[in-house]
Amino acid sequence: MSTTTVAHHEEHADHPSGIMRWLTTTNHKDIGTMYLTFSLIMFFIGGSMILAIRAELFQPGLQLLNPEFFNQLIGVHALIMIFAALMPAATGFANWMIPLQIGAPDMALPRLNNWGFWLLPPSAILLTLPFTLALFGIGDGALATGWTFYPPLSVQGGIGVDFAIFAVHLLGISSVLGSINIIVTLFNMRAPGMTLMKMPMFAWGWLITAFLLVATIPVLAGAVTMLLTDRHFGTHFFDAAGGGDPIMFQHLFWFFGHPEVYILLLPVWGFIPQILETFSRKPMYGYKAQVYSLWAIGALAVVVWAHHFFTAGMPVPALLYFMYSTMAISLPLAVLFFCWIKTMWKGSMSFETPMLFAVGWIILFGIGGLTGLVLADVAADAQYHNSYFVVAHFHYTLFAGGIMGIMAGTYYWLPKMTGHMYSEKLGKLHFWLTAISFNLTFIPQFFLGLAGMPRRIPDYALQFAEFNMISSIAAFVLGFSQLLFVYNIVSCARGGKKATDQVWEGAKGLEWTLPSPPPYHSFTEQPIIK
């Protein structure tokens, strides 16, 4: 790389151009852009999979998909959305914004950063390749077990399971590398005077996320490796005939899987308060309370996993413990909600697109949180579990709470990243279309679940027809509205009204002191925080 031999340190902008720039880059902004672009592409791939499913579920009877293919689509949809759309989007923002927010010239470990990103495209290929291979008569398609890999179904499955296991390994390595980088950066590269308790909230959200990732990804990696040896090397970790237990896999998987929910949400809980304070023109309320709440949620996240499989059979004390500990998560969350709303209260609010998304996010994520509280109840969970009620619940947390949050962040920082203003009109249209069609997609699914429709079925009884039809139509509106999002981003990147340095009237923080777009190498001199 050029930087190793070149003596002039004042200007490093002589990077390679074309494809080599992106392959070899160690610049946090380049890598952040690649993460965000990758995430957007995968969002559409995962989204088109679910639209195929909603088309199949439009009415009773099999119309388009075979049950085998249906099962492959649901699992790969989830893996792509979680690992290849939501997580990279959060990592992309971390790369772009954490150095800018803490006044650092770059991430602490730039080459590791590059490697972390370039592990993602191969793993996305691994995940989806079995679909293509099946077309040529090799294997029987992708993983058909749902994203949770539950054995013995996953032991029985075809090569798609092996591909998915290796994809998860690569994705996991990538996440752990990214997390290590963020932890090191946050602990070592903060501007002089920026104590931990002066860090921007987004940095806090990510710091806890990074610790959760480092703590839980190895458990997932272990669990899927045990699965791999069960499949091919004659071990019996999850086979009762050899002294194993299929339910043990669920414990291992959800020990990772539940923190994963907060891994997806904590970065969003970090930057939403920043958006709220910007557009309320009023400092964030209860900074310390929010930081402590984030820690409390991070700690609770790793001790509540078994509420994902209450119906698998557990002793009564275990059921009670997991029920009450799950309910306890609502306490720090209540503090967060209180602080968010108090930040808006008696502010001087204006509703540009990021604020619209942030406010819509609070309401919709609130529904996800409250239904989560209800789901914690063991007795009623026997009814909710694996029904469409759960599907609706986790889309309120992960689509509304995750992806709509990411959209708020995108509109918030896009002018900073590109140097241009996006179209406010299209942004607002995008918000309203997304919020309305999202609700019309998932509210009917709550009722479907209550009426007794299990999830992951390719065909359903006649009494579920009406709600499914509404849900499918709305899902297509939701899917196609996202084209507006892409159009808005692309046209903003290509040109438009020049953005000022501060971009938003109420924006505070180091990233807004730099020009828009920031120079390739920012903060060549460290800012001092008083």
Binding site: G146, K346, I457, Y460
Partner: protein, 390 residues
């Protein structure tokens, strides 16, 4: 006034048309067991509480959204933290409310529900065992008069209706109908033992309020006490492969007297079937019976024509196993021979030993060897299967 009347009429018409959509279900189905009644009660209570929280918080937020706007020249305050004692008090209130809701208002009834749900043994008057297999349920009565009754319950919706592209009228209970219903007496607490033969399944009848994962190699338990006679329908609720959407549950709850009659009739039917295993069958009878058994149990994977769905599910037409010898020179069945494969299974192929009786296994093997485009010519008698099991 006229306007108000018109609006009132409009709302009335709207509500009436709402009722016309009888298929929209807004809550759990009518409970049929004490557990389901409790679940519904708990669910309604929690939904009301969370609904109130949601509406109150939303109202505060919406008020702020409209009142504290820049466009209305509202001047922002600069509070960062609660400073006065009054403010700290207000800040602690949401925390206190949730503490109360979580661990008292919701927590205490939830505790009692869990204890009731997990108490499978007290006052249970009978035991049944439910076994999930890809993709059917097997029921066995473990004690009392009905002890020894054991049968398999398969989806009975005609295959053409579930096939891709079916355009005609579907059955009323499309995908929720089976050939053999599970029959339970009304008012008795039935302890349910749950297991599986291949992968995880979950036996779920929404109106019973109980659902439990069936784990291969383990026994899980739950209980059911149906209070109202009637027919109840449910489905498997744990993804179990391509037939996951096609393994429904139908339960008939009968008053005790009728239940006893059913037990007697079922026992007689099973005795007849067992007697059939000792007689010598003609090839025609075996073929006819085998076709039925094949289409009910095997055609899901190996297809009605025997063409299979390679590579996951091999073809039977021209297959080495279906055209090879069944027995070795010593008179015992060959390992990896046709009978071995059906009895014991391998990888994805389930073991049928516990699911099909001797006559059914003999018939289906005879059918596979002499139908589906194969013509081996031999006949397997039920007595040979019976001997092979020992």
């Amino acid at each position: 006034m006229q306007v108000l009347k018109k609006i009132g009429l409009g709302i009335a018409v709207m509500l009436a048309s709402f009722n016309a959509f009888a298929d929209y279900a807004w809550n759990f189905p009518t409970p049929a067991t004490p557990m389901a009644a409790d679940t519904l009660h708990v669910h309604n209570k929690f939904m009301t509480i969370t609904g109130i929280i949601f509406i109150v918080v939303l109202a505060i937020m919406i008020y702020a959204i409209f009142a504290h706007r820049k466009s209305k020249n509202f001047k922002p305050v600069t509070d960062k933290v609660p400073s006065t004692a009054v403010e700290i008090f207000w800040t602690l209130i949401p925390f206190a409310i949730l503490l109360l809701i979580d661990f008292v208002i919701m927590g205490i009834p939830a505790y009692h529900s869990v204890v009731m749900m997990e108490n499978t043994r007290d006052k249970a008057t009978m035991v049944i065992k439910i076994t999930g297999s890809q993709w059917r349920w097997q029921y066995e009565y473990m004690d009392g008069d009905a002890q020894g009754i054991k049968f398999v319950s398969n989806l009975s919706t005609p295959k053409e209706q579930t096939d891709k592209g079916f355009k005609g009228v579907k059955d009323e209970h499309y995908l929720l109908e089976v050939d053999n219903h599970l029959v339970l007496p009304v008012g008795e607490k039935v302890r349910v033992l749950m297991t599986a033969t291949d992968v995880l399944h979950n036996w779920w009848v929404p109106q019973f309020g109980s659902s439990r994962v069936a784990v291969p190699g383990f026994i899980r338990e739950t209980w059911v006490q149906v209070e109202v006679p009637g027919t109840y329908r449910g489905q498997c609720k744990e993804l179990c492969g391509k037939g996951h959407g096609y393994m429904p549950i139908v339960v008939d709850a009968l008053p005790m007297a009728e239940y006893k009659l059913w037990v007697a009739a079922k026992k007689e039917e099973l005795a007849k079937a067992a007697a059939g295993a000792d007689k010598v069958w003609t090839k025609e009878d075996l073929m006819a019976n085998g076709k039925t058994v094949y289409e009910k149990n095997c055609a899901v994977c190996h297809q009605v024509t025997g063409a299979g769905l390679p590579p996951a599910f091999p073809a039977l037409t021209g297959s080495k196993i279906a055209n090879g010898p069944i027995f070795g020179a010593d008179g015992k069945y060959l390992k990896d021979g046709h009978l071995d494969r059906v009895l014991n299974g391998v990888r994805v192929m389930p073991s049928w030993k516990a699911v099909l009786n001797d006559t059914e296994i003999a018939s289906v093997i005879t059918y596979e060897r002499n139908g589906l485009g194969n013509a081996v010519g031999d006949v397997l008698q039920p007595a040979q299967v019976k001997a092979a099991r020992q």
